[in-house]
């Protein structure tokens, strides 16, 4: 059973096309890189996979459940890391994770372990507004993975991270995690290198969807032309 199955998925914004003709199949453990210029629909696709948006056409199956009716079944198994860290600035790192744990029914013991995994144990009781951008991103990763999701949806996960921090997070959100991942990135070479499948979008429409090894860098670059 495929982890993600999209067949001619469509999403409109009024009369405008946000996504059209998106067709892709991802098996468990694989990584999908989504490439395209700003406004191409990458974030829309990610949000649709996260069950935050309903598909307006086509069929979408995530982790075996068809969207939107089966969305409630899979929500707890998806980890979403979007542009917004989804953290409350007045709360401490620990309190933010406690809130997340409350929403997902996760044991609060996990919080300490997760904070250590992202290297924030010492700053855990400071309000988020006092943390640097890099630390906020690390905390966001902790938040997104706290409930041990089966599917990771990552929008520029290494933004604001120095190479050391990015590497520290590899076991959580990188290929090393072994999880099914959908990665939105502007780093064309890096994206193609770590992905199994690459999807190219332009103006909401699917330009290509092939095994990443078969995609030429030049082809991918054309999406930004």
């Amino acid at each position: 059973m495929a982890a993600i199955e999209l067949e001619r998925v469509e999403r409109r914004y009024g009369d405008r096309i946000a996504l059209a003709g998106v067709t892709v199949r991802i098996q468990g453990g694989e990584t999908l890189a989504v490439l395209g210029a700003n406004g191409a629909g990458k974030t829309t696709l990610l949000r649709l996979l996260a069950t935050l948006l309903r598909p307006h056409g086509g069929t979408a199956r995530v982790l075996g459940s068809e969207l939107p009716d089966g969305a409630w079944k899979v929500r707890g198994r998806i980890g979403y890391l979007g542009h917004d860290p989804l953290l409350y600035r007045e709360l401490t790192a620990r309190e933010n994770l406690r809130y997340q744990a409350g929403l997902h029914g996760v044991d609060t013991e996990r919080i300490g372990e997760r904070l250590a995994a992202v290297g924030l144990e010492r700053r855990a009781d400071e309000p988020v507004r006092d943390l640097s951008k890099g630390m906020v991103q690390r905390l966001a990763v902790a938040r997104a993975t706290l409930h041990d999701p089966d599917l990771l949806l990552l929008d520029e996960p290494r933004a604001n991270l120095d190479p050391a921090a990015a590497e520290a997070l590899e076991p959580l959100i990188g290929r090393a995690s072994g999880k099914t991942r959908v990665l939105v990135t502007h780093d064309v070479e890096g994206g193609l290198e770590e992905a199994d499948v690459a999807l190219g979008l332009r103006g909401g429409r699917q330009v290509f969807c092939r095994p990443a090894a078969e995609v030429e860098i030049a082809t991918a670059r054309e999406l930004y032309a």
Partner: protein, 228 residues
């Protein structure tokens, strides 16, 4: 799709309105105290009743829209509320004229139906700014339906509350509705309700048809531009 039956409906409306206005002017009795101006009651009350039903209908279409996710219901809801607001403006104006004629003031708080209507009217006026300040068309329709439902449920509660608050048992023409009206008045009144209802439905269908046509036109134009 909407224009089916528009022509016979329009004809029926014109006939009904002609009959109604004729009855108001020539058939209904002249009120002893208030004179000719009292006849505005025959315009004011049917308009009010139909406008309120229009608001409630807007709420019902809102429910259908949310349950079936069919945008045509949202369309219908919007036009129903839109028409009711227009009718409502006339209700308030005629109500004011009637108040002036009956009690010498341009507005009276003793008339619970008029007062309730004002509150409902003020609430529904917010429908436009709410609707048009939401940019996402899908969300715009959904939020409008939620509003239509809450406001539609509000209408009866509001009327009950204001009615309970009325302190004066002021002899009003309105208090005679339903019970002690002489035959000619009652008949004129009923014809009025029928005529105004037909008018509302005809205008409603008319606006739906024209809006639908302009949406289709916009869609075709967009498709043409996309393939060009």
């Amino acid at each position: 799709m909407y224009s089916k039956g528009l022509k016979p409906l329009s004809i029926a409306t014109v006939v009904a309105m002609a009959a109604w206005l004729a009855m108001v002017f020539f058939y209904a009795p002249l009120d002893a105290d208030q004179g000719f101006v009292q006849k505005i009651f025959y315009v004011h009350v049917p308009l009010a009743i139909v406008a309120l039903c229009g608001f409630v209908a807007g709420g019902i279409f809102g429910v259908l829209h949310l349950r079936k996710r069919d945008r045509t219901h949202d369309f219908r809801s919007y036009v129903a509320i839109h028409m009711s607001i227009i009718f409502g403006t006339v209700v308030l104006i005629t109500g004011s004229i009637w108040a002036r004629a009956s009690w010498g003031h341009w507005w009276v708080w003793d008339e619970p139906v008029l007062v309730s209507f004002l509150v409902v009217f003020l609430l529904y006026c917010v429908y436009y700014p709410l609707r048009f300040s939401i940019e996402d068309p899908d969300r715009q329709a959904r939020y409008s339906s939620v509003f239509a439902i809450a406001a539609g449920a509000f209408v009866p509660i509001n009327f009950a509350a204001v009615r309970m608050a009325e302190k004066f048992t002021h002899p009003r023409v309105l208090s005679q509705t339903g019970g002690s009206m002489p035959g000619e008045m009652r008949l004129t009144f009923l014809v009025g309700i029928v005529a105004v209802t037909l008018l509302f439905i005809t205008l409603w269908k008319f606006e739906l048809t024209s809006k639908n046509a302009s949406v289709q036109l916009k869609r075709l134009r967009r498709r043409l531009e996309a393939t060009a």
